[in-house]
Subunit: 203 residues, 2 copies
């Protein structure tokens, strides 16, 4: 069994949304699975001393254009959310609650992640608003009250914190970030390199 | 005749080196030519309020690894120069001197650019040292003394300054930077998107 691909994302990262739509299929074509890691990009930025491209007007304008184009390039729907970025804290906590809870697990967490990224980036569902979180939880067939309770659970909070720390220790300074056989790849635009690595091994 | 592709580069940009090795062939396959623009990345960074990825240790480590891997991905030789980055002022001035001088012209300038990028990134030839600049000028079949004189020429200095200003006005905040039919593409990793644009038009 080949080792899984580690996939780090933040619910508010548009390039992570794009990658979230291809990473599982790409991995599966090469006999791999994907280990999803919800993190908070702000923490990774801060640890690395990196600023967001959204902080500089010229780069922000380009990025917003490039994001839409990159989604079209992958044949994906994309609608720029009016409020962007948003606080992905609650969505990430629900992710780790699902990930660790016996009745759910990593697959349910990944399904929540895919649904959340798609909901925010195609129809502007705000996961930092109680109504938005409840809507998504219901759409995912979750116990809505349990999902809301998880957001305030100390153990879940601690789990997200340690996930951030693990990501930072692994060298993550942006999302999407992939680690394949110990090799780090940053960005949706490393898809072709990841694909070659999976197909032919290190290059 | 389809409009040319504008290609902005800095002699000290490794991703621009990689792109410099494919941009002409890619353009030619789609009936296009390339207009090369030597610029100083520092000026563009400053105007945009952008910092270099080399300024943050975590991102620097990743970038140096990614650069080598990206070169291998394109099948290109790459040797990390010991002194990196370097001041590309003189190399860029020679570029614009060639570009505008009746005996040479844009093609000679592009040949100088390709040769300079390759010399620095494959054998560490330092174009900010008189010996390095002279070596490259001789290899390019140029009048070595005229090339050196161009570096101190007020008109050439002004030309580089206006090239930087034009690039900044065009929205350039990094290199390589491409403008195709008015559409901006930043980065060696936008090759596939540029290719699709050239093949099928806007997407």
């Amino acid at each position: 069994m080949k080792p899984p691909i580690d996939f780090y994302f933040d619910f508010t990262s548009p390039y992570a949304y794009i990658a979230s739509e291809w990473v599982d299929a790409l991995a599966a074509r090469h006999g791999r699975t994907v280990r999803w890691h919800a993190i908070l990009l702000g923490a990774a930025f801060q640890a690395a001393g990196v600023t967001s491209p959204l902080d500089t007007p010229v780069k922000r304008d380009y990025s917003l254009r490039d994001i839409r184009r990159s989604a079209r390039f992958e044949g994906l729907p994309y609608r720029q959310p009016e409020r962007f970025p948003f606080s992905s804290l609650q969505a990430a906590r629900v992710f780790w609650w699902l990930h660790d809870s016996p009745g759910h697990g990593p697959d349910a967490a990944a399904a929540w992640a895919r649904a959340g990224l798609r909901a925010y980036f195609t129809r502007g569902l705000m996961l930092d608003e109680p109504a938005g979180l409840r809507t998504l939880a219901a759409e995912c067939g979750l116990d809505v009250r349990a999902a809301e309770a998880a957001c305030a659970d100390a153990a879940v909070k601690a789990r997200l914190k340690s996930a951030n720390e693990q990501a930072i220790a692994a060298g993550v300074f942006g999302t999407p970030f992939f680690v394949v056989d110990g090799e780090p790849f940053w960005g949706n635009d490393r898809k072709a390199q990841i694909e070659r690595w999976l197909a032919r091994g290190p290059f």
